[in-house]
């Protein structure tokens, strides 16, 4: 999504109404379990209630939520909010994890989608059958032997299905290290 993202695609940033902000906060809380813990302590930390947040509209119906210039979440169309990688690096438990093997890392960094064998091979890791993620789950993609996630993706099918089929694209990559959005530490 962000492989070819650059300055020209960023529209103007606007301060958003407090009522809309409240709605966004609620949405975020509904969506991320990690943000809900301890009465939303984490949300309060990354986005204090009293501070206002700005909305940056970009091309292709893409919106960024930024706090003090740091992009926190992005959303395309009316899809769920997705944290940016830099935010995820600080709070990795925001998203459910999967792991790819070492051979897949370089393709991911080049912007490829995650192929199923990269997840099912020895170095990869998918959740056990009981905790299988349904299709369209946004996941943090970790890499074998690394501490930090390398990308964020969205499961094309359920993880069980990925294990069974073991062929073709398993996870669509949304946002990866070194892509256009990643390069904007601040906007």
């Amino acid at each position: 999504m962000f492989a070819k993202f650059d300055k020209t695609q960023i529209g103007n940033s606007t301060a958003i109404k407090s009522s809309v902000q409240r709605a966004i906060r609620q949405k975020l809380l509904d969506q991320f379990e990690a943000l809900r813990e301890n009465d939303g302590a984490l949300l309060e930390q990354i986005w204090p209630k009293k501070e206002s947040i700005s909305l940056i509209k970009c091309h292709n119906q893409l919106q960024l939520l930024s706090f003090n210039g740091f992009p926190l979440f992005f959303q395309s169309h009316d899809d769920p909010y997705v944290p940016t990688l830099r935010l995820l690096h600080l709070y990795p438990h925001l998203l459910p994890p999967v792991t790819v093997d070492r051979g897949a890392i370089r393709f991911l960094i080049a912007g490829a989608n995650v192929m199923s064998p990269g997840l099912t091979s020895k170095g990869g890791k998918l959740p056990p059958t009981e905790q299988s993620y349904p299709a369209n789950t946004v996941v943090a993609i970790f890499a074998e032997g690394k501490d930090h996630p390398v990308a964020i993706g969205i499961c094309k099918t359920s993880t069980e299905e990925i294990k069974k089929v073991n062929k073709g694209i398993g996870i669509d990559t949304l946002h990866f290290i070194g892509d256009g959005l990643y390069k904007f530490e601040r906007i």
Partner: protein
Amino acid sequence: MAEASTSQVVPQKDIVYCGICQFPVEYCEFSNSFKRCKQWLEEELPEVYISLYSENALKDKMGSLSVEAEKKLEQDVAKNEAKAEKKALKEIEQKKSSKITIIREERTKRKVTTHIQNLDAFSVELKPAAKLFAQKFATGASVTKNPQGKDEIVVQGDVTDEVEDMLHARQKVLSVLPEKVKVIKEDKKKKKANVEGAEDGHQE
């Protein structure tokens, strides 16, 4: 995110970003500037460097990948790196060889505009630069697209020489220009119609 303070309830995970490729340092090996990244890390954060690139660490990180695959990976990375370096060199060269064109264009009788082209090749920000010219000469100056589809700065009035001096002085937003930037001056006269008419007269 930057508000790291005592009020934190949820701990942040430590992360070190590379100063060269901006990746988390453990991913430097996949960037196009691995060699420089390694150097940078060794100088800036020797402890982290040892934990990542000492022999033991290298052995550990092999993980499930076979020796052959690992070798192939290394080769690919090296190849990409060489490619990226070449590209960077080419870009620098191109930058060196590119020139700024100042065109003086006549509009009506005594009205003249000055067009400054190719400033963006030196990564000068055009809008602030136009403002600078406008302030300096107390005239209108704007960024417009020329027929070739490139952005240029148009300044009202004949300020060709002054603009050239400013480009060489490299002040404010122009400070990104290299020293002794090459400048070409052109003069576009709008007397074409008249000239043609005169020629016609001759033939008759």
